[in-house]
């Protein structure tokens, strides 16, 4: 008895009495819009160390510089291989630098390291080590010019059996070649580097995206191997500021998780927060990115707070805006943080099409959103409490079709919705030859048969079908789940309270959305709080391409402007340009 009383008291306690909870509240302060300073900020690039132009003869300076430039200590896929190069039977210090996953390692082993490191007949040949001397007669006396041994020419001409080598003297050429998948060889005492063509990244054995199909865009998708995914990102980003950090999650499984961001664009606090959350997880195993999403999201509410996608072009677009990408080994879906509400309603095709087409599609998606959420609830509210809204003929048609139905309206709707969900769930597991047919035919025949048997009225079939189709029109999978769940809540509210219930539902829904935060960014950005949605890349309606000037300020990126004030310079007449 005491136990029972204690349980009731503790239940009431939890319900009514305020308990101090240390609510974890991470808040990303929004960037203030100050027009004057953006100019200066763009010039003050963060990675503004002294940029060297020419390559130094001293290998240690080169090594240090390349380590800084590529953040080799934190970047997990930059490989620097130091070794002793043998030429003319002398040893010179050298190092190779390349990106793992972009190169074919067999080629490096067989055709670069082997001939240079191991003593063989080519690099130990010392026969013409004698200084060749040439006598020049000038002004009646002879000058002896000693031809010095040219190591660079020697390596280039004789030592490296590689089919395509380029020589560079400037750092920026070398770096751009590393980014595209070559391997650079630095040798001590010479100020030229060799760029060796050993590209070996995988392309197009990658399959088509199975769930995010668009008409006009790349048909690549991420795969399960993390190195392949990072190589896709490297290939598309093509910039040395892309940082890919590796974290091991899970005590037993030690799953590789990669956190990717652009160093000179993404906000440092955001990146730090993502890494902090991933690093402080006390779990044994991590298998998929879905589990990781649930572990690091802000709130365990039914709204999705991280974008998950399997398309590389979508991920790269978000990377360039200043967001952080998280890749989990073994799962083709990657996570993007933060994710606000308007992101879940946009498809990756929106930026590829003309803005007029994508805006109309967005409008259709918005209508689908409202239908999927509110249509059954509104139907039952109107026909039960507010019959004056329907035109008279429709009303009489509905009334006559409901005359023969034995069940009350709410029961009918619940039966139809449940059977629709059953068909949806069963359609996933039917063996493939009969899969599609069961889906369509089953729904149609079931509906027709139900109407003829007099169990449901025909108008209800239409309502349930439109609701189901609208929930398929939402691009993001998690958001459509949210709508499917909330539709039942609105159904019950509409049946109990008519429009009053639906208004209650909408009000609580709005407050819920306003309260939600995804990695410190309010869920209703960029509209509330008021950010720069007029010329940023993230907003609900796609802007024309010449208007996407700034990055969204709710992400507080380091670099504001994405394109100049006039991005299509070719449109300016020649006179104006001068």
């Amino acid at each position: 008895m005491n136990n029972f009383k204690n349980k009731i008291l503790s239940f009431l306690d939890n319900l009514f009495i305020y308990k101090e909870t240390n609510k974890y509240d991470f808040f990303l302060p929004e960037k203030e819009s100050c027009e004057v300073n953006t100019q200066k900020k763009d010039e003050m690039d963060i990675s503004k160390q002294t940029d060297y132009e020419d390559i130094f003869p001293n290998i240690n300076i080169n090594l240090e510089y390349m380590q800084i430039k590529y953040n080799a200590l934190i970047n997990s896929d930059v490989v620097i291989r130091e070794f002793n190069l043998i030429a003319k039977n002398n040893e010179y210090k050298a190092f190779l630098i390349y990106l793992d996953g972009m190169v074919d390692s067999n080629m490096i082993n067989d055709f670069i390291l082997k001939p240079l490191m191991l003593r063989n007949s080519a690099n130990t040949y010392i026969k013409d080590n004698q200084n060749k001397s040439i006598t020049i007669v000038k002004n009646n006396y002879g000058i002896k010019k000693v031809k010095k041994f040219n190591l660079e020419e020697y390596i280039f001409n004789s030592l490296v059996p590689q089919n395509s080598i380029k020589k560079y003297t400037k750092f920026k050429d070398a770096i751009s070649d590393i980014n595209s998948g070559n391997c650079i060889l630095f040798v001590d005492t010479i100020s030229t580097v060799f760029s060796l063509e050993v590209k070996g990244f995988k392309a197009r054995s990658i399959g088509e995206p199975s769930n995010e199909i668009i008409v006009r865009g790349s048909q690549e998708a991420f795969v399960e191997v993390i190195r392949t995914n990072t190589s896709i990102l490297r290939r598309l980003v093509n910039n040395e500021n892309l940082i890919i950090e590796n974290i091991d999650v899970g005590k037993i499984s030690k799953t590789k998780v990669a956190v990717c961001y652009l160093n000179n664009i993404a906000n440092e606090d955001l990146v730090y927060e993502v890494k902090y959350r991933i690093n402080n997880l006390d779990i044994d195993t991590l298998i998929s990115s879905g589990q990781l999403e649930q572990l690091i999201q802000d709130d365990s509410s039914i709204f999705p707070q991280l974008i998950s996608t399997e398309r590389p072009d979508k991920a790269v677009n978000y990377l360039f805006e200043g967001r952080v990408v998280v890749i989990v080994n073994g799962s083709p879906y990657i996570l993007i943080a933060p994710g606000v509400l308007v992101d879940y309603l946009s498809s990756p095709e929106d930026l590829n099409l003309k803005h007029q087409y994508s805006n109309i599609l967005k409008l259709i998606r918005l209508i689908a959103y409202f239908f999927a959420l509110l249509l059954p609830g509104l139907y039952i509210a109107i026909t039960t409490y507010h019959q004056e809204l329907i035109p008279t003929e429709l009303l009489l048609a509905i009334a006559s079709s409901r005359e023969t139905v034995p069940f009350p309206l709410i029961f009918e709707i619940i039966i139809m919705e449940l059977s629709f969900e059953l068909i949806r769930e069963a359609g996933l597991r039917v063996p493939s030859p009969i899969g599609p047919t069961i889906g369509i035919v089953g729904a149609l025949i079931l509906g027709e048969a139900a109407v003829s048997a007099g169990i449901v009225s025909p108008i209800l079939i239409i309502i349930v079908a439109i609701t189901g189709i609208s929930s398929f029109a939402i691009p993001d999978f998690s958001l459509s789940f949210t709508l499917r769940l909330l539709r039942f809540v609105f159904l019950i509210l509409g049946a109990v309270g008519g429009f009053l219930g639906i208004a209650l539902g909408i009000f609580v829904y709005l407050c819920f959305i306003s309260n939600l935060k995804s990695f410190g960014v309010p869920y209703t950005s960029p509209y509330i709080p008021n950010s720069n949605f007029t010329n940023s890349t993230t907003s609900f309606f796609t802007k024309p391409i010449w208007k996407r000037e700034k990055r969204p300020s709710f992400l507080n990126p380091k670099k504001d402007n994405e394109e100049g004030k006039i991005s299509m310079l070719w449109k300016k007449s020649k006179k104006e340009k001068e």
Binding site: Q387, L396, S400, V496
Partner: protein, 409 residues
């Protein structure tokens, strides 16, 4: 013991939740448990009682057909002492619950209207379910006969029939839709007196040709029910009922309604006959659309002197080989005829409303109120009694566009 306590607590909590849903008594409110009234008729019954008639739309009972082929209607009548208790009596008689939110027309009989309908109108306005766009019809026969004979002859759905029939005055000019809201506002305001449509059943013995009227004018001289249409007994709307202080004081026939619409700037299109200036036996049919009407009210010796300036556009519709309307002088002559024809008719209508009925249905009160700056002074001027002393002067100017497709020179 634990399991027992758990089950008891679960049952208690579910009972608590179910108790909160007691407000949703939607069983009775469900859509098929209500009877929808399409038309409401109010008559005078024996002694002081009212007679209410309801026309229900019964949904067709077969559900296998995808659309109902026609909606049947049933009419029921009940005698009661007031409108609200009449609803109550009817509720106890029929099986479903009465729902007035789709009531399209409200019909008062002529007999009841002469006694006064201000109280009924106010009761109906107070009922939230009746939409303010419901039309008001005064019927020359009894309201229950009117409703029983209201069968749609060119369509199958009764609600749409009512919606369309009250708006066809737009292209004939013989009557004008008056809604419940308009009627009530005019009743309360005092700037304009309320009007309503006249309706009746077109039966053989009511066909009436006034010998005093020139044959040219006969077509527009009918009121509802007297026009020479030979068909089964169906309802007809034509003419306007004139009210003063909530009582029916007179009626206007088709021609006078056209004049009324011209003065109140509401005429859209109508067709009138004028005598042919070139041959005395023929007539010309002309289609008229209104451009603008300006009214001016001045006070001469405390009686109002009202000037009306109208401008209309006209098309000639009659065409025959003998006619000669192509030249400019011919058009001018016809214009003059139209001017004088319209001016006489408008004038006679105005004097009829002023002298016979003393009811300002044309709304000249609106022009008078702009001369006052204080509501008390306006109330003191007592315009509604002063109207019968009014003098009128009418000017019409016509713009004749010629005929529609063919013309001979």
């Amino acid at each position: 013991m634990n399991i027992l306590k758990k089950t008891i607590s679960i049952i208690l909590i579910s009972i608590l939740i179910l108790l909160t849903l007691t407000g949703c008594k939607y069983e009775n409110n469900s859509i098929e448990n209500q009877a929808y009234v399409i038309a409401l008729g109010i008559d005078k019954g024996k002694e002081n009682l009212l007679k209410l008639s309801f026309q229900f739309a019964t949904p067709s009972s077969d559900s296998t057909s995808s659309s109902s082929s026609g909606s049947e209607t049933t009419t029921t009548t009940v005698e009661c002492s007031s409108i609200s208790s009449g609803f109550n009596l009817m509720n106890s008689y029929i099986s479903k619950k009465l729902n007035l939110s789709h009531c399209k027309v409200i019909i008062f009989s002529e007999e009841l209207a002469s006694i006064g309908i201000a109280e009924e109108i106010q009761t109906l306005i107070n009922k939230i379910q009746i939409r303010p766009e419901a039309s008001i019809i005064i019927s020359k026969c009894s309201a229950s006969d009117f409703i029983e004979n209201a069968k749609p002859n060119l369509m199958s759905l009764i609600a749409k029939y009512y919606e369309i029939i009250v708006t066809s005055g737009k292209y004939t000019g013989y009557y004008y839709n008056s809604t419940l809201e308009n009627f009530y506002s005019s009743l309360e305001e005092g700037l304009i007196e309320p009007t309503a449509m006249l309706g009746g059943i077109n039966v053989e013995n009511l066909h009436y040709i006034d010998k005093n009227i020139n044959y040219i004018d006969i077509d527009s001289s009918y009121v509802a029910g007297t026009s020479l249409v030979e068909d089964e007994n169906l309802i007809q709307l034509m003419g306007t009922a004139v009210f003063k202080d909530g009582k029916l004081v007179g009626e206007l026939n088709g021609q006078e309604t056209i004049s009324h619409l011209i003065i109140t700037n509401k005429l859209e299109q109508c067709i009138i006959n004028i005598p042919d200036p070139f041959s005395s036996d023929n007539l010309i049919s002309v289609s008229i659309t209104l451009n603008n009407t300006k009214n001016k009210v001045e006070f001469v010796n405390n009686s109002p002197f009202i000037t009306v300036d109208t401008s209309v556009e006209a098309y000639i519709l009659t065409y025959s080989d003998a006619s000669n309307y192509g030249t400019e002088e011919a058009l001018k002559i016809i214009e003059k005829y139209i001017n004088s024809y319209l001016a006489t008719h408008i004038s006679s209508y105005l004097y009829k409303t002023a002298k016979d009925y003393n009811s300002d249905i044309a709304g000249f009160g609106k022009k008078v109120i702009s001369k006052y700056t204080n509501i008390n002074k306006w109330n003191e001027s007592n315009w509604s009694e002063n109207y019968k002393n009014a003098f009128f002067h009418v000017n019409v100017s016509t713009d004749l566009e010629g005929s529609t497709l063919m013309i001979n020179n």
